[in-house]
């Protein structure tokens, strides 16, 4: 089976992290975001993944070389020379997705984190025999999104309503699809929206079905949702493989610690914390609801909450970092500094406190 992951563009909402690497390579729960999806696809029998990209292809290709062998799955790139929207890239990658076997192929939005129940998706798709299946997820405020109006029992999709003013349903497009090769005949090689142009056509032909996504769902394309997404992910990990989470007297709630990370004495870590490879957390540190990325060092007696600490950064002794502080790559917060929502671009030193949310260039 094949899969296409829509990686798209510049990841500007995840800056400053995306000033250092393209968005799919930003770590989430100690792994590049896209790796979560690629591994789940491999586990369900996908043999080739095509990445639809339009930015920094050479960085992605270097990454692929490292991982292809390790993962045991073929990874290729399909590069857009102009942005093709959410459906155009499928037409561009047509030759890679159709292998003559008639098997359906997956299409994923790269920002989406979930449990990826691809087995169940395949079963449902085969059972209804329609041309396309999309996964939907229930949300509290559907009018912020595009709502999928469907028959509850069969899952047959009636129509899409973009940001509805009155309540028409509470299921939105989760960005995970399983499509028959015939869908490609409906897509032209031009900037096209899959939600606005392609799916409504398929729905009109009564060939589009929706499946409610079990488990959690999050679009982690911006820092606030990234932090919420980590909580949901770790929660799910607790249910599926609790042994992967850290335990001990200094751990509270769900905490993921990479095996090469080092944690000192007298710390209190958690809930909802991910500590990446090679990180050093010195003694007396309090971490909650945060991500510490590869190679970062958190010095003694400091306190970090609801923040993201970028690769190879340092947080100084007695520093307090909170309220959606995002440190880019190689940022050094000096001792005793307070950061309240500072968003700091890479290669900076923070020598004076940031008292209210501010971007530091």
């Amino acid at each position: 089976m094949k899969a296409l992951i829509l990686v798209g563009g510049f990841g500007t909402r995840l800056r400053p992290l995306t000033l250092s690497v393209p968005k799919p390579l930003v770590d989430f729960a100690n792994k590049p975001m896209i790796l979560h999806q690629i591994e789940a696809l491999r586990d369900v029998g996908v043999t080739e993944v095509v990445l639809a990209i339009n930015y920094q292809p050479e960085v992605m290709l270097n990454f692929l070389k490292d991982f292809e062998a390790k993962l045991g799955i073929k990874i290729t790139c399909s590069q857009e020379t102009e942005p093709l929207g959410t459906a155009g890239p499928l037409a561009l990658a047509r030759d890679k997705l159709i292998d003559g076997s008639g098997e359906p192929f997956f299409v994923l939005n790269s920002d989406v984190i979930s449990e990826y129940p691809f087995d169940e998706l395949i079963k449902f798709h085969k059972s209804h025999g329609g041309e396309a299946t999309i996964m939907v997820t229930k949300v509290d405020e559907p009018s912020k999104y595009g709502v999928v109006v469907m028959e509850e029992e069969t899952g047959k999709v009636d129509r899409f309503v973009e940001k509805p003013k009155i309540f028409v349903g509470n299921k939105i497009n989760a960005g995970i699809y399983l499509l028959n090769p015939s869908v490609l005949d409906r897509i032209e090689l031009r900037p096209t929206s899959i939600e606005k142009e392609v799916f409504p056509q398929i729905a009109a032909d009564k060939e589009l079905f929706a499946m409610v996504l079990p488990g959690f769902w999050m679009d982690v394309g911006q820092p606030k949702d990234y932090i919420t997404g980590l909580r949901l992910y770790l929660n799910s990990l607790r249910k599926r493989s609790p042994s992967k989470l850290a335990s001990g007297a200094h751990i509270v709630g769900n905490v993921l610690v990479h095996e090469t990370a080092v944690i000192g004495e007298g710390c209190l870590i958690g809930p909802d914390v991910a500590i990446g490879p090679g990180c050093v957390v010195e003694s007396g540190v309090r971490l909650s609801r945060c991500t510490v990325m590869r190679g970062a060092r958190v010095k003694k007696h400091s306190c970090i909450s609801s923040s993201i600490i970028g690769w190879h950064s340092t947080v100084g002794q007695w520093a307090r970092v909170e309220n959606m502080t995002i440190l880019g790559e190689d940022v050094h917060v000096c001792d005793e500094i307070y950061s309240n929502g500072g968003v700091v671009l890479p290669h900076k030193e923070i020598k004076s406190s940031i008292l209210k949310p501010e971007i530091v260039m």
Binding site: G9, R15, L19, V59, N62, H347, K348
Partner: protein, 479 residues
């Protein structure tokens, strides 16, 4: 203001052929540490489009020649990527020395000034950028200006004198009698031949370019006290807290080769101190604060200051303009200063205000030959428009830098702003800065490929590359 001095043997040459076809390589770094992407295009150099009336020809072998044995080498310090965070967001796309001021890369201005030095043998650019970021530029500028320019990369920080010292073998290759040292991010008239003459008359080891500033602002710089008659440097203080002098260090120097011996002395002395630190336990405790490594030598604190009053260093005062180009706001101001200077040194570069067929031109304006400006547009003062930009009908541009491939649609207004490469400014939209070049959000800066939609207003804001603004913003940084 000095123009182009006619050298002893001059040749009249017309360079009206198009720039040589050079391969354009997008410089994209695969590693994550420096994400700047810059494509240098020969059109960034404008000289080949224009006629020069006189300049001295250096034979193809680029070896020193001429009647005198007094060869001169110029060294321009260009800095590096992680050092220049104050120049963001522009430095996210281009190394600061290559950012255009008055239509030419920043480092062109000191290099062009070096060409006026008699018997110039070589220009070295020394910095921390990767070689490939300067390779294309150096090859193009050497060809265009007929001056050998070479980029040398520093491997680690050694201070302003240490870096210079570490390349002394290259610098001394041509056995120069004098060596100029300039900082790339200095904006001034570079009176280099006059400085050299003064230096020769003083007979010391070095001469420093100085300028008088207001007493209130002097503390931001290195303050010097000079003897009013002999012009000797009597005292030097770097960014002092109390007032020392209103005469400050411009960052332009000329030395005789024995400067290297002086730097070496300072390195040896520093190594001695470092040894002492290891021996004495009290000194070892001091290592809580950052200990400066042994071969890190700063020109100002470690050479000029100790040698002051010993009849080795002298000063040459400039009465022209002087600014430091540390931030994008200052680059806008300095672009205007250079545009103004073009009136005297290269008036042919400025847009012709009397061209009836063209757009209305006010004050000093530079328009690249490949840019298109609609006749109903009004441009200036202090506007620089780069290659392939398109300025639509009824557009008003005041005090701004419009970079390559920008499209400004009909009736838009751009004031006190820098519009990044490939950006587009929508119809009737307004992109404006207050004009305070020193404030953090004093001008508006649009990064590469920013789209401002029709009728949107952007005021005193900074927008990072690849964003689209569909609603108006004020006083914001948009990542």
């Amino acid at each position: 203001m000095a123009g182009l001095d006619p050298p002893p043997s001059s040749l009249s040459l017309s360079l009206s052929s198009p720039p040589q076809a050079l391969e354009i390589h997008p410089f994209e770094s695969p590693s994550s540490s420096s994400s700047s992407i810059f494509t240098f295009h020969p059109s960034h150099l404008i000289f080949s489009h224009l006629e020069f009336t006189q300049f001295s020809v250096i034979p193809c072998s680029f070896k020193a020649m001429g009647s005198s044995e007094e060869r001169v080498v110029a060294v321009i310090m260009v800095g590096g990527p992680t050092k220049g965070t104050r120049f963001r967001p522009l430095s996210l796309n281009v190394p600061k020395p290559l950012f255009p001021l008055a239509g030419q890369p920043m480092v062109n201005h000191p290099i062009s000034a070096c060409r006026r030095i008699p018997n110039l043998a070589q220009v070295y650019l020394i910095g921390f950028y990767e070689e490939r970021e300067f390779a294309l530029y150096v090859s193009a500028i050497s060809n265009e200006l007929r001056v050998p320019v070479r980029y040398l990369r520093e491997d680690k920080p050694r201070g302003s004198a240490g870096g210079f010292y570490s390349f002394r073998n290259y610098i001394m290759e041509d056995s120069p009698s004098h060596i100029f040292l300039l900082n790339c991010d200095v904006c001034c008239s570079f009176p280099l031949p006059e400085m050299l003459d003064a230096h020769k008359s003083y007979g010391g080891m070095g001469t420093i370019l100085v300028i008088k500033v207001s007493a209130e602002s002097a503390h931001q710089f290195g303050e010097l006290v000079a003897d009013p008659d002999t012009k000797e440097l009597l005292h030097y203080a770097e960014k002092p807290e109390t007032f020392v002098s209103d005469l400050i260090n411009c960052g332009v120097y000329v030395f005789t080769p024995n400067i290297f011996a002086a730097i070496e002395e300072a390195i040896v002395e520093r190594r001695g101190k470092a040894e002492l630190r290891r021996i004495t336990s009290f000194e070892a405790l001091q290592s809580a604060t950052k200990a400066i490594p042994a071969d890190y030598v700063r020109l100002d604190q470690d050479i000029l200051s100790p040698f002051a009053g010993k009849k080795e260093f002298y000063t040459y005062e400039t009465l022209d303009f002087w600014e430091q180009i540390k931030t994008p706001g200052m680059s806008l101001k300095c672009s205007a200063l250079y545009l103004h200077q073009f009136r005297y040194t290269s008036p042919q570069l400025l847009a012709n205000a009397n061209d009836a067929k063209g757009a209305t031109i006010i004050g000093d304006v530079y328009i690249h030959p490949s840019a298109k400006v609609h006749p109903t547009a009004k441009v200036g003062p202090n506007v620089s428009i780069s290659a392939n930009a398109r300025i639509g009908a009824g557009v008003r541009l005041i005090s701004c830098i419009i970079l390559d491939d920008v499209e400004v649609l009909e009736n838009a207004v751009v004031i006190h702003s820098i519009v990044g490469w490939k950006s587009s400014i929508g119809k009737w939209s307004r992109v404006q800065g207050e004009g305070d070049c020193n404030a953090k959000l004093g001008i508006t800066i649009l990064g590469e490929s920013v789209a401002v939609e029709d009728e949107v207003v952007v005021i005193n804001s900074i927008v990072l590359p690849n964003k689209t603004l569909s609603v108006s913003v004020q006083e914001e940084i948009i990542l």
